[in-house]
Amino acid sequence: MADDRRSSPTEDVQRLYEDAEKRTAQAFEEVVSRGSFGELLARMTENVVGLTKIGTDAFDLILRNLRLAGRSDVTRLARQLGRTEDKLELLLQEVERLQETLEEPGQTGRGSGRRSTPSSRGNRGSSSNGRQRSSGSTRGSRASK
């Protein structure tokens, strides 16, 4: 038997609409996949970047002349802080390495991320930055940002 159920006009409209939307979506996807669209996008991006730079530079100049700290000053300070944090992290790793060498003279540290043995690691941790320490006690709090 053929399909007895006939679709209602509303369903027909809905189906036609969905077909049209699907075709439109495919057409748009074809448009954006062209190299020429990529070039257009690249130019548009450069224009936006250019405008943003002009605006930001002008605003920074105003703030500088008013003797106020601007975004660039905050960024510079934050960058210095980041570099200090890098040095601190490296220092901590070195301390941990030395500590491990002292505690277990039979084993030599091979650097971070190594395949260390469970006995050398266990629940050991470093002294700060939220790491847990060995020797039973847990010092310091969880790391916080």
């Binding site: 509303t10 939307e21 439109t24 979506a25 748009f28 996807e29 954006v32 996949s33 062209r34 190299g35 669209f37 990529g38 070039e39 996008l41 690249a42 130019r43 991006t45 450069e46 936006v48 970047v49 250019g50 943003t52 730079k53 975004r71 905050v74 960024t75 510079r76 934050a78 960058r79 802080l81 980041g82 944090e85 890098d86 992290e89 790793q93 971070s112 991320g113 190594r114 395949r115 260390s116 043995t117 469970p118 690691r121 266990g122 629940n123 050991r124 941790g125 930055n129 939220g130 790491r131 847990q132 969880r142 790391a143 916080s144 940002k145």
Partner: protein, 347 residues
């Protein structure tokens, strides 16, 4: 529903529709309890709380530098993290945070050779184990792969790479940014941190009608029919709209090495003067691709299978989109069990 009934419901549906959109940013995401284990700059390593750790090898989740890793733990009942924990895994997450202009010097080298490298070290410390499983998604998968190729003597036992771009030749994104007409240096110099909204806009532009119209049309129809799933729509919409900036140097590195030079598959990528050699990747490897993925299409991921030295390689190819595959409503039944089974056999 007849037209008269539809008309009568419209005012109420309009209010409901507006309410769903206007309150989506208040949706709770990433609710599974976790503790920070280690922080450095904007990066934080978290460990999820669990009293059911059966498997020895911990799992480190690595997400992309765009969007937030909350997608791993979208909402209770539909959380991959929750699923992993319930299956007895010790789960860690490396969160890249919200980089700002001061992080403009953070490049791929810093993310792979420092943040990820140190993060793995801290996972080993916290878990007390020798080895770790890396589970990377999107760029996070590429970072994991780069790490394994850059540091062959590593503690990574297994790698699961989900919808990961590897060979970008012929990809849509490559069509846009690989030609010389796209001056990545100008963009990276102009913005110290590329606005996340710009990246999101570009991603949505790949399927403009679907992303800017069909999603909302379907929501409207659901609301009108009284079947809208607010609890499912809002967390995903919030996650999609939550776009951290992309540090300028990392953006420059990513576009140049992955799209302009395609250097990962060509074996020419170098980090800190050391070559990223995929032929030295020997870990057990799970590669998951999504058939309708327009950001990391399967043909851009599968070349990896012929480049690595791993003897234990599994490839799962499923229908679905870049994100929908892992975070869609069917993921819990259709893909998570397969991933967990693969992990369980190797953990």
């Amino acid at each position: 529903m007849n037209p008269v009934e539809q008309l009568a419901r419209t005012p109420r549906a309009a209010v409901e529709f507006a309410n769903i959109l206007l309150t989506q940013n208040d949706a709770a995401v990433g609710l599974s309890p976790k503790d920070p284990v280690w922080t450095h700059r904007k990066t934080t390593l978290y460990r999820y709380r669990s009293e059911n750790r059966k498997h020895q090898v911990p799992v480190l989740l690595v997400f992309a530098l765009i969007n937030r890793p909350d997608i791993f733990d979208l909402r209770p009942g539909n959380s991959f993290v929750e699923f992993l924990l319930s299956e007895g895994f010790d789960v860690f997450l490396i969160d890249w945070g919200y980089p700002e202009e001061e992080d403009s010097e953070m490049g791929l080298e810093e993310y792979v050779c420092d943040e990820l490298h140190w993060g793995i070290r801290e996972v080993l410390r916290a878990s007390g184990q020798d080895e770790v499983t890396l589970l990377g998604w999107c760029i996070g998968g590429t970072l994991s792969l780069i790490y394994a190729g850059w540091q062959p003597d590593n503690a990574v036992r297994n790698m699961a790479l989900l919808t990961t771009p590897v060979d970008t030749h012929g990809s849509l994104y490559g069509t846009w940014v690989a030609p010389d007409s796209f001056d990545v240096d100008y963009v990276a110099d102009g913005y110290k941190a590329i606005p996340g909204q710009a990246i999101d806009w570009a991603n949505k532009l790949m399927k403009p009608v679907t992303n800017y119209w069909t999603t909302y049309r379907r929501l409207w129809e659901g609301v009108l029919a009284g079947q809208a799933r607010r609890a499912a729509f809002q967390p995903m919409a919030r996650w999609v709209a939550d776009n951290p900036p992309f540090p300028a140097r990392a953006y420059r590195d990513w576009i140049t090495s992955m799209y302009k030079e395609n250097s990962l598959v060509r074996g020419r990528m170098r980090l800190r003067r050391r070559r990223v050699d995929l032929s030295k990747v020997t870990q057990s490897l799970l590669v998951v691709t999504a058939g309708a993925d327009h950001i990391a299409p399967p043909q851009g991921t599968k070349p990896l299978l012929g480049l690595v030295a791993s003897e234990d390689v599994t490839c799962i190819d499923r229908p679905g989109g870049h994100i929908g595959l892992m975070a869609g409503s069917k993921a819990r039944e259709e893909i998570w069990p397969d991933i967990v089974q693969w992990l369980a056999q190797r953990s």
